[in-house]
Symmetry: C2
Subunit: 222 residues, 2 copies
């Protein structure tokens, strides 16, 4: 009985520790998002999380460690958006291009509402960190892989080189992310739709164009 009670007590403690860790990651993301990584203070983060500075240091020895935890959490969200976490290949015949359109809509929506994802992306460009993150690079990798498959499967017009499309899509989405810091409309569904409305006719042959929805099909909505 005594040992069972101990185990229960230790499980409760573990759960509480996991919750505190989650709360700290979220508070760090919100503080980085509001103040920028280099200005954000550990005191502001622990105070927003409602824990002591000591509790923060128990979980994270430094601001750099917190930034890495924010990036890990943001990467899981990105993997969920791109479907890599589920390992679910699109059904046979499903369009890779439409998947790309849907995921950019999902990413824009998530960047609008989720401070962890937003902070994770912004940390990719943070100069003052010893080891900067690579969320934008992970995003580029997924866009590249998706477009290469679309090209292999004959979804792209012969004139549209997959590499050129990767450049345009990655640059534009990172541009939306950065411009939205000052004006949230850059991450609106209308902005993303306008981008695809312009780009789709160069990407896919005319007979496939009617089957492509620039506004997304919501299959990938988070």
């Amino acid at each position: 009985m005594a040992s069972l009670a101990m185990t229960e007590q230790s499980m409760v403690k573990q759960e509480r520790a996991a919750r505190t860790r989650e709360t700290l990651i979220r508070s760090a993301a919100e503080t980085f998002d509001r103040d920028g990584f280099s200005v954000a203070s550990l005191t502001a983060i622990s105070s927003l999380a409602g824990v002591s500075n000591g509790a923060l240091h128990f979980h994270f020895p430094s601001k750099a460690a917190l930034a890495e935890a924010v990036e890990e959490a943001a990467l899981l969200r990105l993997l969920a958006l791109t479907g890599e976490a589920q390992d679910d290949a699109p059904p046979p015949g499903a369009s890779r291009v439409q998947l790309l359109v849907d995921v950019t809509h999902g990413l824009a929506g998530a960047l609008r509402t989720d401070p962890v994802l937003r902070a994770g992306f912004a940390l990719s460009g943070e100069l003052s960190r010893p080891r900067p993150g690579n969320l934008r690079e992970r995003w580029r990798g997924w866009v590249e892989e998706t477009l290469e498959r679309a090209e292999e499967e004959g979804e792209l017009r012969p004139e549209a080189a997959a590499g050129d499309v990767v450049t345009a899509v990655v640059a534009a989405t990172v541009g939306f992310e950065v411009l939205a810091v000052r004006d949230g409309a850059w991450l609106s569904a209308a902005t993303v739709t306008r981008f695809w409305r312009l780009l789709l006719p160069t990407l896919v042959p005319a007979d496939r164009l009617a089957g492509c929805e620039a506004s997304g099909t919501n299959r990938r909505a988070p």
Copy 2:
């Protein structure tokens, strides 16, 4: 004779002060560019400029004042790139779309080599400043004006809405700027050329396409 000597002495002083001011603006831009605005210290800036802290404070009362001076200098460079400073309308018959292509190449080249322009653009997204700058917004304004004129003058395909093109061009160029902090290839002529090679066929009618150079015509090279 005495008053002439005084005047000469005062002119020399004025010139020296102007040179010191220029040096401080350039040193501030290089320091912001390397460390980020919020981490950059006034001591690092004055030391890079080779002047005392007192001399720095004589010219600029605060880091915010230095940032505003960097932005002013960067805006002059942007105006020179877009031709607004010279007030020279393109010759009759010249393509507005080609002007836009050429200016994006000029902007990318200048962002690669000019820390003042680079710092000025980056300061537009700096959260920790009381009055953030608007260089990216000025760039958006010029792209919009140029594309609206191209549309009025019948240069665009009827399917290409000028507003959609503005969104894509501004987001992609800001994306290039931000991604180049980690990998300079995003501001290479090859990257900008690939973007335009993809976009031009949607923008201009087929009979005008042959007259458009995705790699730029160098008319606007700085």
